[in-house]
Amino acid sequence: MLPFTVYFSPDVFFPQNYPLYIRSVPSQNELKFHYTVHTSLDVVEEKVSAVGKSLADQRELYLGLLYPTEDYKVYGYVTNSKVKFVIVVDSSNTSLRDNEIRSMFRKLHNSFTDVMCNPFYNPGDPILSKAFNGIVSGMMVQTS
């Protein structure tokens, strides 16, 4: 039960926060997850603006548990270019440790940079890369 979303807010388009990629494992309740992720954006923004970071540190990219609700936990991660990744995990899935979430974010980040490196990809386009899809599916399968 692991929905993923990748939200974008490139620095350039600051007010915009449109999703570049959303994927969730259970096909039902997808709208609910969309909503959750969207609201969690606020929390992400708050965390990002709160930390007046001098050195962009890997630790600071990972925002950790944004907020838990009764059903699920939301984790956030922001990259240096203000691209936000949000993972929503089922609360019942307690086996997921923080480290695992971190590694998932790291993998996401890596595949995301690969997508960006592709000159045929324009930042701001929805991510259609099969490699990216593959990695995300792999992660979701692995955790569910």
Binding site: A56, N80, S81, C117, N118, P119, P123, S129
Partner: protein
């Protein structure tokens, strides 16, 4: 039409048998150029090369047949040349006399070897080829048009036909090109024959490759932009169809590799360098494939994921595009035959570089030095590069190279361009290994490392005056006490020297010292500042009393300057010593009123670690490095501390703010009551 002119011109000079006539006209059609009567010298060169005669012989042929004189290959010259080739192949001297009138076998060409035989064999030359003509016509133009589309800059593709530049530069208009396949369809059966028989003689390899593209016949023609790409493409087509030896469409032939090499060179003269993503994008976009497919091809071919294409990657990408154009669906992952390791083996078979200016001097057996070494070197290094890439990814995560990577594509390209100038430096090194390694590094991390290093170096200027530190620091302290400026300098030296020890333990040291002697105050405040700082935040008591008390006890000036220190210390945390030093300069002078004491114990203990290493002047550099590292560590700790402080203060601020808000609201409530 061809035959008539051929007969006319050929017959005037030499007599051609009927057989030869047909053969030559077929070849003539092969080398057809748009300018009537003029043959594409490139293709002719190709043909000559395929005849496998030594280059001198080929030169002679050109000379004798009159093409050299004319500057181009006319039909007559072509036929004569063919005859001369036949003569040369049969061992006769290449002279006009030898060709006129004698019965010569047909000239044999490496790839067209089967032609004469199949021509002989194909008794009804029209029937079979005609049956296969549509199919092969579809095949060949598709193949041809494939490369036609792919060639982005044919203007640069002239290298192998320069001597005939007057005739080769006339634009090979796409019309002529387009007309070629169509004319073939209509009436060029004879011309088709050599072409068709070739494919049919092959064990179906080409059938496999060109099986589906019949629909591409019209499509490429429609899409064909007005770019002059004819010569090299046709040549490559010929070669590809001539020497296609594999069944596997994912296998790159030597000719295709040559072609890709040419293309690479047109984009990037150095085979060892990378093609930037933007450049490659423009280039591949000209192939008219849809962008998602191109994106997928890029993903497949950019194995090291650096956003740029090495020569091997470029070949892979090009080959994938070719295959796609020919109708093959894109694979999900890179076929094994296309993988860099494999292609490296292929590259070693490259017979020659088409870059040679003399089209006829194409050494079939010569090994091209640069062309081959680089790709093979690069290919060999692909796996090592890949592993390096992973290492770099690990590094990059730590070093936040993602900063650069995630920048917008514009920024990325500028970064690449910025990183790229670093690459020309490695090119000076002849070792391709170094080249690839530095390329990897330079793209993703060197610039970052440089940035980080630069960021970290300015904060630590102190190491520079180290040369005075070559002596025992006690001497410095002597100077320190006796004169103001050098004394301060010497005193200034000590703080950076101290970091090797944990600062907290050093501080009491210093503090004790300060209690003992006033002179130590000069150095001590420098450190006491930090300890004071640290203590305030960590609220460690033991140092707090000593530090501030001892310092403040000395003079009120100390206090003010100390507080000023704190303030200035924070913003200048990166260069702590400097402001401190400046501030305490007057201080020390004020304090100098005291009798200059003997070199007190403080110098010796902190100096203890230093005299041994300091004495030998050769160890200066290592000590400087150590000190820099110490300073860096210190700065980091300071940063962490400051950050913590900052967050705590902010929390406090929030709390206070809330209180204020509540109080204000209460006030608002009460005020109306009070007023009324």
């Amino acid at each position: 039409m061809d035959q008539e002119s051929a007969a006319a011109s050929g017959g005037s000079l030499i007599s051609l048998t009927d057989h030869e006539q047909r053969y030559y006209s077929g070849l003539h059609a092969l080398c057809q150029a748009d300018a009537p009567g003029k043959l594409s010298s490139g293709k002719v060169a190709e043909l000559f090369k395929a005849s496998q005669l030594p280059p001198e012989a080929l030169h002679k042929v050109t000379e004798v047949c009159g093409a050299k004189h004319l500057g181009y290959f006319g039909t007559a010259q072509f036929y004569i040349a063919l005859k001369l080739l036949a003569a040369g192949q049969s061992g006769l001297p290449i002279r006009l006399e030898s060709v006129s009138g004698t019965d010569l076998p047909l000239p044999r060409f490496a790839g067209l070897k089967n032609e004469p035989e199949s021509r002989h064999a194909a008794a009804p030359p029209g029937a079979d080829p005609q049956g296969s003509a549509p199919g092969s016509v579809a095949r060949n133009p598709a193949d041809r048009s494939t490369f036609r589309h792919l060639e982005a800059s044919a203007e640069k593709k002239e290298p192998w036909s320069p001597p005939r530049s007057p005739c080769s530069s006339p634009p090979r208009s796409p019309l002529a090109y387009r007309g070629y396949p169509y004319s073939k369809q209509r009436n060029g059966v004879d011309a088709q024959i050599p072409y068709d028989n070739k494919p049919s003689s092959r064990p179906g390899a080409q059938l496999e490759q060109h099986s589906s593209p019949s629909r591409y016949v019209s499509k490429p023609a429609v899409e064909h932009p007005a770019m002059a790409r004819a010569s090299s493409i046709e040549r490559l087509n010929q070669q590809a169809t001539m020497n296609y030896s594999d069944d596997d469409p994912w296998r790159m032939t030597a000719e295709q590799l040559e072609y890709y090499t040419n293309q690479f060179k047109s984009l990037q003269p150095d085979l060892g360098a990378l093609i930037l993503g933007a450049v490659a994008k423009n280039f591949f976009t000209k192939s008219k494939l849809p962008i998602p497919e191109l994106s997928h091809i890029w993903e497949l071919s950019d194995v090291d994921r650096d956003g740029a294409l090495t020569f091997t990657e470029f070949c892979i990408a090009f080959h994938l595009i070719v295959a796609r154009k020919n109708g093959y669906p894109l694979p999900e992952s890179l076929p094994p035959t296309l993988q860099p390791g494999f292609s490296q083996r292929e590259e070693e078979q490259i017979p020659d570089t088409p870059e040679s200016l003399e089209p006829l001097i194409v050494f079939e057996d010569a090994e091209p030095r640069s062309c081959q070494v680089d790709p093979s070197g690069i290919g060999r290094l692909e796996p090592s590069v890949a592993t390096r890439k992973q290492d770099l990814q690990g590094e990059s995560l730590k070093q936040d190279t993602s900063v650069k990577r995630l920048a917008s594509s514009r920024e990325k390209s500028t970064l690449q361009l910025g990183a790229f100038p670093e690459r020309p430096e490695p090119h000076l090194e002849l070792d391709p290994q170094m080249r690839t390694k530095t390329r990897q590094r330079s793209y993703s991390s060197t610039s970052i490392e440089d940035a980080i290093k630069k960021a970290e170096e300015p904060p630590t200027p102190p190491p520079r005056p180290q040369k005075t530190h070559s002596r025992a620091s006690s001497l410095d302290l002597n100077k320190l006490f006796q004169q103001g400026a050098p004394g301060v300098k010497g005193g200034w030296l000590l703080p950076p020297a101290l970091p090797p020890r944990p600062p907290t333990s050093q501080v009491p040291h210093f503090l004790n010292v300060s209690e003992q002697a006033t002179q130590a105050k000069v150095q001590q405040p420098n450190f006491a500042d930090f300890s004071h700082f640290r203590e305030e935040e960590e609220s460690s008591v033991k140092l707090e009393e000593q530090g501030p008390s001892s310092r403040f006890g000395l003079s009120s000036e100390d206090l003010t300057s100390a507080s000023k220190q704190d303030v200035s210390g924070t913003p200048h945390s990166q260069a702590p010593q400097k402001p401190i030093r400046r501030k305490y300069h007057p201080e020390s002078q004020n304090l100098e009123t005291g009798p200059p004491p003997p070199p007190p114990p403080p110098p010796p203990p902190p100096a203890m670690p230093f005299p041994p290493p300091a004495k030998p002047s050769q160890k200066l550099l290592s000590r400087q490095k150590r000190e820099i590292q110490m300073a860096i560590r210190k700065n980091r700790e300071t940063n962490a501390v400051l950050r913590r402080l900052n967050s705590e203060l902010q929390q406090q601020l929030k709390v206070v703010h809330k209180e204020r808000v509540t109080l204000e609201s209460q006030l608002e409530l009460l005020r109306p009551l009070a007023s009324t």
